[in-house]
């Protein structure tokens, strides 16, 4: 019995320890705004707040004049050196619309700033879904499949902008269909339902 227990535990450990060296290394808190326009869902505005240690090492490279304020040139450099490559990772943004994957390939309105010694990225992910008479179901999450970066949604920051013409319901929960790393990491995401308000 002891032997079996031993081997079963060994099986569990070995199966889940194959991913480069230990992870994660960077921590990001994501503040999210769901944005609607006159036709329906327009996209998602994200604000990434990096952990202070990572922020500090980034800023030592990019805040060239060390004034703790990022000017236009410095923001451009950060975008080039510490953001654009995320295009290869869909900006960690994963969206499913009525059961179909929506692949994020570009974002707009990128900006960066420093607040409380922490580096902040803000950008907008366009994702147009026209509202109809039936509910549309959109599932949204931000996570890094390589697990180099640990991403956490900040529940209190979740808000909706411009949705008054629609019936909108959303909540934060763990999205099992986005699970990765042998299904052992289930990221948090937002489940959104909306339709045209005919009243």
């Amino acid at each position: 019995m002891k032997t079996r227990l031993f081997l079963f535990a060994a099986l569990i450990f070995v199966c889940f320890s194959h991913n480069g060296f230990a992870h994660p290394h960077v921590f990001v808190d994501v503040e999210l705004t769901i944005v609607f326009d006159e036709r329906g869902l327009a996209g998602f505005r994200q604000r990434w707040v990096f952990d202070e240690m990572f922020s500090s090492t980034m800023l030592s490279n990019f805040d060239k004049n060390k004034d703790h304020v990022l000017d236009v040139h410095e923001i451009g450099e950060i975008k080039k050196g510490g953001f654009d490559n995320l295009r290869n990772y869909a900006y960690f943004t994963h969206i499913v619309i009525d059961g179909t994957i929506f692949e994020v390939k570009y974002v707009t309105e990128f900006s960066a700033e420093i607040h409380d010694n922490r580096l902040l990225y803000t950008f907008f992910v366009p994702c147009h879904v026209v509202a109809g008479d039936q509910f549309k179901q959109v599932t949204f999450s931000v996570f890094d499949k390589t697990y180099y970066t640990d991403v956490a949604l900040v529940p209190d920051s979740l808000s909706c902008e411009g949705g008054s013409a629609f019936v909108v319901a959303y909540d934060i929960k763990r999205i099992k269909e986005f699970s990765f790393y042998y299904g052992q990491i289930i990221p948090e995401g937002v489940s959104i339902q909306f339709k045209r308000n005919n009243d």
Binding site: K2, T3, R4, F6, L7, F8, A10, L11, I12, F13, V14, C15, F16, S17, H18, N19, G20, F21, A22, H23, P24, V26, F27, D51, E52, M53, F54, S56, T57, S60, N61, G82, N85, R87, N88, Y89, V96, G99, T100, I101, F102, E103, V104, K105, Y106, P126, C127, T146, Y147, Y148, T149, D150, R174, K176, E177, Y181, G183, Q184, I185, I186
Partner: protein, 331 residues
């Protein structure tokens, strides 16, 4: 008579079960296709080709999203908790390190070392191939507990101090302390490490086949008197640990930006010791598993021979496969 027959039957069934589980364990290692060697996604890596903006209009791919994945998700709460702890510990490290500036060797310095040690223990518990290699290594060959302690710590010290060497190299030579320069060198070392692991794994397979042919591997007496090749142990530790630890690099870079390099170097030792504790536990666990199997199978030469050959060969193959998958994932 009946009682003893039942006992023998149960014991035989238990032995068969043990072998089946052991084989499943090793096949899981071999068939694993999820080996990833992640670089910082903010700076480098990624599978897709870069495309121009005109080409990359968001689109619906004709691809159905995966349905809810079933199966056991036993480690979800563990990974969530580990992540949260690491995040909190990083916060504590950041807070106390700022105090070190005003009082370099005071209370904050002690806390900084303690948090670094705990961070090391927790950090090494996260997903990573170091534990797989240590586990496979000791499954493939006899080892004493002291060898487990030695290898566990050797790997993590090399892992942490290869990061320290890169960061300090850049800092002393160019007076810059940047994560992107670290990532550049780290990428090269990772490839060398994985190729090295692949070669060492292959040499271990060849050696085990040779032992199998000469009968050393399948004889109980030979197993009991077998020694440990320290050179090989050190080489595997070097190959595994060579990949610089980005976590260590981040802490040290942060210390450099705060102008507290020396406390930062002390923290690196504590971090390596903490990671060493976790990796050592996996080594001890592997040695204990192997010893348990052979304690059970040692009474019957035939079963012992089968278990010994299977574990040794598959353990060696596991190191080769892990090294290969990591290496080819980085090409």
């Amino acid at each position: 008579m009946v009682k003893s027959y039942r006992k023998a039957s149960l014991s035989s069934s238990s032995g068969t079960m043990t072998r089946i589980i052991a084989l499943v364990l090793l096949f899981c290692v071999l068939l694993s296709s999820h080996v990833l060697a992640a670089q910082n996604p903010l700076f480098s890596g990624g599978q897709e080709e870069q495309k121009t903006k005109e080409e990359v209009t968001p689109q619906h791919k004709e691809q159905k999203a995966a349905k809810e994945k079933g199966g056991l998700q036993v480690l979800q709460p563990v990974f969530s908790m580990l992540s949260l702890w690491q995040k909190k510990l990083r916060g504590h490290l950041t807070r106390v390190s700022r105090d070190i500036r005003s009082n370099p060797w005071g209370h904050s310095f002690v806390l900084f070392l303690v948090f670094s040690f705990i961070y090391g223990v927790v950090h090494a518990l996260g997903p990573g191939h170091g534990k797989s290699i240590v586990f496979s290594y000791f499954l493939s060959r006899p080892g004493r507990y002291i060898h487990g302690v030695l290898m566990g710590n050797l790997i993590t010290f090399i892992h942490v101090f290869s990061a320290v060497a890169i960061v300090l190299g850049f800092y002393l030579a160019l007076k810059t302390a940047g994560l992107s320069s670290f990532e550049d060198v780290s990428g090269i070392l990772e490839k060398i490490s994985y190729a090295f692991l692949m070669v060492l794994g292959l040499s271990l397979v060849v050696y085990k086949v040779h032992e199998l042919k000469t009968g050393t591997l399948t004889n109980v007496q030979d197993y009991k008197t077998a020694g440990t090749d320290f050179r090989h142990l050190a080489l595997v530790a070097l190959a595994t640990g060579l990949v610089p630890c980005p976590g260590a690099a981040l802490i040290l870079l942060f210390c450099i930006t705060l102008d507290i390099l020396v406390p930062g170097l002390f923290a690196m030792v504590c971090l390596a010791l903490g990671m060493g504790v976790t990796t050592t536990l996996f080594a001890l666990f592997s040695i204990a598993s192997r010893n348990t199997i052979f304690r059970v199978t040692g009474r019957k030469q035939k079963i012992f021979a089968l278990s010994s050959a299977a574990l040794s060969l598959l353990g060696a193959c596991a190191i080769t496969v892990i090294g290969s998958l990591l290496f080819f994932s980085r090409l």
